[in-house]
């Protein structure tokens, strides 16, 4: 372990292309029932220091995408194709050793449930020190000092005492803070946060989200923030990608996607959700039906069986032809721009308050 962090992190300064670029990512699992296309042709870019929010429900492929970036899928049962370029290096083709070097070092992950995501058998301190020692070659003493420093940074009171505690001795919010300390310990360029506040109470969530934003400013990391909660994403992200049935259906800046959404699924999400300022006498507009099976996705647009506007497209296009997601600000939908504008203004906008 002679490679030090400083020697290695000099590389990015020379690289001036896109920081992270995912191109036509496909992830397939073989199961007893057949092939599950968990992610099906996904592309997106992320700039250094920015936050991309990925929104979707269970089975939309949002978590699978991010496990592929870290290379955490079981290669025996999972087929991952496409390109994941981080500073020009394709993470799908590099050796496992190289991935191990990048994980926890240049890219780190914050998981949903800090209770199960931290090992019950080792102290918080040890779990924070592990990646630091591995990636920087620091001595035990230095690593411990670093762990205490990180715990203090994320707001654990009495960090030099709590460093020797086990996860079960921490409260839920503190565990997630420790998890964040663990992710940031090597000052990564990319943080993947997978529903990091879903298991937390709302007042604790607010603390953690604000903390994460401040720490991002300090560390300058890019964040991929995965959530099902549009409210959380509105607070955290610069850009939003909405996923449905393993594909991105809409992409744009936060204000574009939340205030001028273009995809009927995004409309559905926004208008099915009660809000604090909404009209309580207005019935919620639920999306009918259930999310699609990834074993047997519907032909055409995956959302068509639940879409209220599929009949507005001439021919049977929504049920036969899969719409593509264009570059940049885009929505994968066959409706014309005029139609989208009309439907949104007439049916959706009045409900959004």
């Amino acid at each position: 372990m002679t490679m030090t962090k400083t020697a290695d992190s000099s590389a990015p300064a020379e690289y001036d292309g896109k920081f992270l670029s995912v191109n036509d990512l496909r992830v397939q699992f073989s199961t007893e029932d057949g092939i599950v296309k968990a992610v099906d042709g996904l592309s997106f870019d992320l700039e250094r220091g920015k936050t991309l929010g990925i929104v979707g429900e269970s089975g939309s492929g949002k978590s699978v995408t991010n496990l592929s970036i870290l290379g955490l899928h079981n290669s025996k049962t999972t087929e991952v194709t496409g390109e994941i370029l981080m500073e020009g290096e394709d993470l799908l083709t590099v050796k496992e050793k190289r991935l191990e070097h990048l994980r926890g070092n240049k890219m780190a992950m914050i998981f949903q449930d800090p209770l199960t995501a931290l090992s019950p058998f080792y102290t918080i301190g040890r779990q924070i020190m592990e990646p630091y020692r591995k990636h920087t070659g620091a001595s035990k003493k230095d690593a411990r000092a670093r762990a205490i420093e990180m715990l203090e940074k994320v707001g654990i009171p009495q960090p030099n005492r709590r460093v020797d505690d086990y996860p079960h001795q921490f409260s839920g919010g503190m565990r997630q803070r420790a998890m964040i300390a663990m992710a940031l310990v090597c000052d990564p360029d990319l943080i993947i946060a997978d529903e990091p506040t879903t298991a937390l109470d709302v007042t604790v969530q607010a603390q953690i989200l604000d903390l994460l934003k401040e720490l991002q400013q300090e560390f300058g990391s890019a964040i991929i923030f995965i959530t099902h909660d549009l409210g959380v994403i509105a607070n955290m992200a610069d850009d939003i990608m909405v996923m449905y049935g393993g594909r991105a259906v809409e992409r744009g800046s936060v204000s574009q996607v939340l205030y001028e959404p273009d995809h009927p699924y995004t409309w559905g999400l926004l208008s099915s959700m009660p809000r604090l300022s909404g009209d309580v006498n207005e019935e919620l507009r639920a999306i009918r039906g259930t999310p699609p099976s990834l074993l047997n996705p519907p032909p055409g647009c995956a959302f068509n069986p639940r879409c209220d506007f599929a009949d507005q497209v001439a021919g049977n296009k929504c049920r036969e032809v899969r719409p593509d997601l264009g570059e940049g600000r885009a929505a994968a939908c066959h409706l014309s721009a005029d139609q989208k504008q009309t439907f949104f203004v007439e049916h959706i906008k009045p409900r959004l308050g």
């Binding site: 990048l102 070092n105 992950m109 199960t116 931290l118 090992s119 591995k134 990636h135 079960h168």
Partner: protein, 325 residues
């Protein structure tokens, strides 16, 4: 930790007391009169009375129980001489000190159990870890199917078959026998090799399957994934994270199996003609030998309780959640 130990030892003592009482009174509830048995064919009523007196059977049952209990702590005097504490009495059958007999037989059973234990833990856990690491490959399939077959082989079936094959018909190995460990470890091991292997077959198979299942479950745990996401090497994650987690249930099962192995000692010793505690237990019951039955019972129970305490201590050692709450 000390509090834990004190509490467990106290609890175990109460259980031992209960076991001894139940055994004692059950003995008298069962048919068979030890005095009549000792008296032989041409028994006269007078002779019977004397024998009863000698054996202490003339006293009331609670009184006899009291004498037995106090003897454990203070020692007792018998016609054949003083019996030092811990005194478990004198055998009805051959008028020897029960404690001495047990001490004499114990090494056989301990050797059998410990040897078997080492073999099945090493092989079983080793094979299980290997199968889990190579899940889905030929290695895994071979380990899984072999263990499935082996786990159905009962010792009283496979024992004689092995004996017949490698001892009696081919003469490759000597018949199992017990040699003192301190007289020569090689002879000790050679004499017990067949019983060890045979008795550990089933356990090896069970531990292979269990270890494999636990490891596969652990490898899918979130905290194992976190460790990988931190960039820790796959071997490190496998042993430090997954195996650590799998140990908890394995230790639990092991605690139960250790007790089971003592019970199984009867079958093993009978099958291979070894004179250990298991054999002694059967003989004592057949001979309606109360002091011997009580002695074997108590010693066996003590071991099982001891294992339980050890397992709980190991548990606390492995899992800080147990230790710190």
């Amino acid at each position: 930790m000390l509090r834990f130990l004190v509490r467990r030892v106290l609890g175990a003592s109460v259980i031992l007391l209960l076991i001894s009482a139940v055994t004692f009174f059950l003995f008298f509830a069962a048919p068979g009169d030890p005095a009549l048995l000792a008296c032989g064919k041409n028994c006269t009523p007078d002779a019977l009375t004397i024998i009863r007196e000698n054996l202490g059977l003339d006293k009331s049952i609670p009184h006899q129980y009291w004498l037995f209990l106090s003897g454990i702590f203070t020692g007792r005097d018998f016609a054949i001489g003083h019996c030092d504490a811990p005194c478990l009495g004198v055998s009805f059958n051959d008028r020897t000190m029960v404690w001495d007999t047990i001490i004499d037989r114990l090494p056989v059973t301990v050797s059998l159990t410990v040897g078997g234990l080492i073999i099945f833990l090493t092989l079983g856990i080793g094979a299980g870890l290997l199968a889990a690491a190579k899940k889905g490959t030929m290695v895994d399939k071979a380990a899984s199917s072999t263990s499935l077959v082996l786990s159905s082989l009962q010792i009283y079936f496979i024992g004689p078959v092995v004996l017949g094959a490698v001892v009696y018909s081919t003469g490759w190995l000597d018949a199992p026998q017990y040699n003192e460990f301190f007289d020569g470890p090689m002879a000790w091991a050679a004499g017990l090799l067949i019983p060890w292997v045979v008795m550990s077959l089933i356990f090896t198979a069970q531990y292979t399957r269990m270890t494999r299942a636990m490891m596969i479950e652990q490898l899918q745990e979130d905290h194992v994934r976190t460790a990988r996401a931190k960039g820790m090497g796959s071997k490190y994650v496998f042993f430090r994270y997954a195996w650590r987690g799998a140990m908890v249930p394995i230790v639990t099962i092991l605690g139960m199996d250790l007790g089971g192995m003592l019970g199984g000692a009867v079958v093993t010793e009978m099958t291979f003609g070894l004179a250990g505690i298991g054999r002694l237990a059967v003989d004592s019951v057949v001979n309606v030998d109360l002091p011997l039955t009580m002695g074997v019972m108590l010693v066996g129970a003590t071991f099982i309780l001891l294992f339980n305490i050890l397992v709980d201590a190991a548990y606390a050692f492995i899992d800080p959640r147990v230790r710190l709450s």
